[in-house]
Amino acid sequence: MRTLAIVLGGAGGLAILLAFGDPGPEAQQTAAVPDSIAAPVISDTGALQGPRQPLFFRHDIHAGQFKIQCQYCHYSVAVSPEPGIPSMQTCMGCHLVIAGSDSASRTEIRKLRQAWTEKKPIEWVRVHFVPRHAHFPHQRHVKAMGPNACATCHGDVARMPQVFKVNNVTNMGFCITCHVERNVSRDCSVCHY
């Protein structure tokens, strides 16, 4: 269902958005968290898997303990090839009032607020990427696989204090294994163009 939306632009202009429509029911898919988990207290962050981020953002607290849907932050994953990295404004939407329950989280939230005040976005270290000669449309995979879509490649992020690579998504073998299992296209030009 195509819509012709009119939105006031950041540059002051007016855009004709032809390219995205009603996100539809697939947009309501939820993160695969059967029950709320209690995020552990972490005393030694050095022992955690995955690259260290400039700000210790805990997916296990946000997606696990508080069961915030993936798409609350990764807003374009169901409509676009790109999942969308949340803007600082999205973070501040909650953290304007949520200051943290313990000293560890308060420290990190202070970093966020400082970045917001200074208008300097946090530069996250990228964990997952596919090479640039391969095109991975997120929206089709979310559409096809429904609620478990995210975990298929990214693992159980809801239980990760710090995100690490569970699957080597940079390796084509990982893609192909899944495409063979599900008997979907293995044609080169589906991804490589």
Binding site: V7, G9, G10, G12, W124, V125, P131, Q139, Y193
Partner: protein
Amino acid sequence: MADETTASTLDRRKFLTVLGATTGGGALALSGCSTGKVEKLVPYLVQSEDQIPGLATWYASTCTECSTGCGVHVRTREGRPVKLEGNPEHPVNRGKLCSRGQAALQGLYNPGRVKGPMARNPDGSFQAITWDDAIARLAAKLGEAGSRVAVISGAGRGTFSDLLGDWTAALGGRLVRHETFDREPERAANRQVFGSDQLPLYDLGKARYIVSFGADFLDTWGAPLEQARGFAAAHGFEGGQVAKLVYAAPRMDLTGLNADQWLPIKPGSEAALALAMAQVLVSERGGQPAGLAGALAAYTPALAAEETGVPAATIERLAREFAAARPSLALAGGVAAQHAGATEVCAAVNILNFVAGNIGETVRFGAELPAADGHAALAGLARSMNAGEVGVVLVHDANPVYTQPRATGFADAFRKVGYKVSTSLYLDETAALCDLLLPQHHALERWDDLRPRAGVYSLMQPVLEPVFDTLPAGDILLRVSQKAGGALARFNAPSYEAHLKSRWQALAGELGESDFAAFWHGALQRGGVYREPPAAGAVSLALENAQASYTRPALGGEGEFTFLTYPHPMLYDGRGANKPWLLEIADPVTKISWHSWVEVGPGAARRLDVRDGEILELSTPQGTVEAPVFVYPGIRDDVVAMPLGLGHTAYGAFAEGRGVNPLDLLAAPSGEYVPYLSTRVAVRKTGRYRKLASVAGVARQLGRGIAESIPLAAAQKGLTVEQAYIEAGLGHHEVNTERELEAVHGWAEEQHEATQYGNYEGENPQWAMAIDLAKCTGCNACVTACYAENNIPTVGEEQVLKGREMTWLRIERYWEGGEEPGEPVSARFVPMLCQHCANAPCEPVCPVYAAYHTPDGLNGQVYNRCVGTRYCANNCPYKVRYFNWYKYNERAWPAPLHLQLNPDVTVRARGVMEKCTFCIQRIRGAQNQARLEDRPIRDGEFTTACAQACPSDCIVFGNVRDPSSRVARLAQNPRGYRVLEDLNVRPAITYLAKVLLPAEA
């Protein structure tokens, strides 16, 4: 990119992995992609509401590359424009955009842009200053100059030009609206003949017979996209009809190459021909105002035959055909109407249109087209400058120091002005002489509007943050006004944007719109407001003034040849010379890129004993230039011609020092116009030689049947090309032997079996294309669109000389006839791209399966598999595969030009073969969207970049398996054929043969 030092330490498998790791587009495209590097994800502070990462956002705007005023849609990704396409709602261009318009993107991201305000130091160098400082300096100088202020601006009309007019008037200064090829002769002729100063619109679509007296209406004159659309309707075998186009000029330009008949008349004799045609018409049919017959009586076909060199019988026949086809259309304009007798030419054509009854039919007055002031205004200003009467000059949207012939002495006069200010985006020849540079925003960075014609109000809006420290020209004026005060104090709008909106509020009132917010948003979304054009204004013959007259042109200089010069189809008057696309995509007529050339007729070439590439010295009393010869069958043997647009002394690294400027040869204008036809030229062989940077292969078809044609009568009967040949006794139906048929059928069965497994199972779409050669004019818009869409690198002159240009889509131009002296010559155009053969010769020779057939009928090319053996290119009968010999990806887009890259398309690395993909990124994008919406792809939902751009809609793309699709129907057209069909490679592209009119009809 693979880094040599690391690559050498890797094992083969890893080496290939890294080699194949071509970079994606986007801002990071050229930053390398070694897997060990830490990549950062930088989020937005505040997410813009109209941007979704990974998807395009489209904005409507208006093209400002020439004064036509076409509507554009700007495709932006993550906040930066990556492609320009026509706005389908805009009444001028209806969704199409020419090469020059599309290349505006390379103007936006041009490395040669002035990066901020600058002032000249006493030692002549430029020094960066702040905007406050710059505004204060100009305000102070304006205060000193009083009314001794002059402004030179472009011809575009809109809110800004109104503001500029009021502003100049408030100062008591003088405003000259300048355009290189102004249409003053046409206006003067309209004043004379019809008593109207207006420029008409020409409805080519309605015309049944067209005679152009040197007007290049398909490319460089008038509103080319609108005219090309009309021409396709009239001439493209729609409804089984082809309107004849006769082209009368000493040299064929792109319009001439599309003509059914070329009359190689003597230079400057257009008026004699037009008057003789009118005279035949009036004397044979009568019914015209008394007195007209008398005025025309002297201009007999016999006289015209002597003046033009066209036999009197031909002229009489033309006149009768012209009269019999109702309505017909005669056109004059462009550089053919830029000489001492130009008004006579236009007046004669006006009379011809009048006596044939075309006024109000195909010639429609009342459109209120914007017009520049004639050359006399600029010449007058130059006189004042010389006399020291100008204290401050402001140049906006014009580069007169380059576009005025040296003999006019404009540059010297300009130098004498005390304080010279330029708002140019680039350091062009005029800006280079200025004391203060106030670079304005690019059209894609600012709010503005244009009124290209009555009833059309076309808007521009900022679609990205400014690339450099520039200001909108309107804001410069307003800020200077506030600083200077006095008479300027009343220009007190808080910003130009506010001023524009207040004007649009007034416009809403005029148009009877009460809800301004809705009106404004609607206008922004549609790119403007389009009202019904006013009914064709009635004009009548002002007989007392309509003197039919013809004067044989008086040419200065000495020599064997008359010298002609004309706007370059890509570079126009030189404004395109800083954009690599326009330099590299070859001129559609000569197929030469990157440098100047001089056209010499075949007979003259024999006489002079020169061949392609031999450097000639051309001299007139005004100057001397040297350029290599291109032997051109479409030019008279007593004429030599050179394109304008090169020979820049400033204007950025791409333009400077490239080619020569033929304006240096022209004589000083004696009257109202710049005389592009003014002099004879002495030609001397230098004995030196250079290879032409030509992208043409063999210039003739040599019986290969690449650009097929079919006679009109046969096409009307619905015959195929082969049947038409048989009917004409030129061929026979080839009967295949049983053995041949068996081989082909056996192959087909095998193919069928092979398509039953794995990915190939089931009913996949089969993407295909149809190209109608009856409509293709060879204009290059598709080629530029392909460069823009697919991140095709420009390789530079040196590589073009080695035949290494990367044009995935090129236009082949083949000569027909003209091999014997006196034999008429014509041209055929064939857009040539990957044919996506079902039985492709490139595929089986690839040792690494990089070239392979996709289930949806594409001939795929997997860059990360390709190891660069080039076997595929060697085995391709169409020569449409291109190899990356160097790291073009690192040098074709010097910053910030790389911001134009399309993030959906991989930027190819060195050592990789590439070719047309049928815009696979658009196919996949449409498939992704359709999948989200649980529906099949609809025919016409998307199309390739070339088909989108084609001004005459000759390219149609779609799924040939869907019997209701346009392409499936065209594939069944009797005119359809496949290029090199005998090879049994089964191309997916169906060409529709060009329909030829009988030679003498």
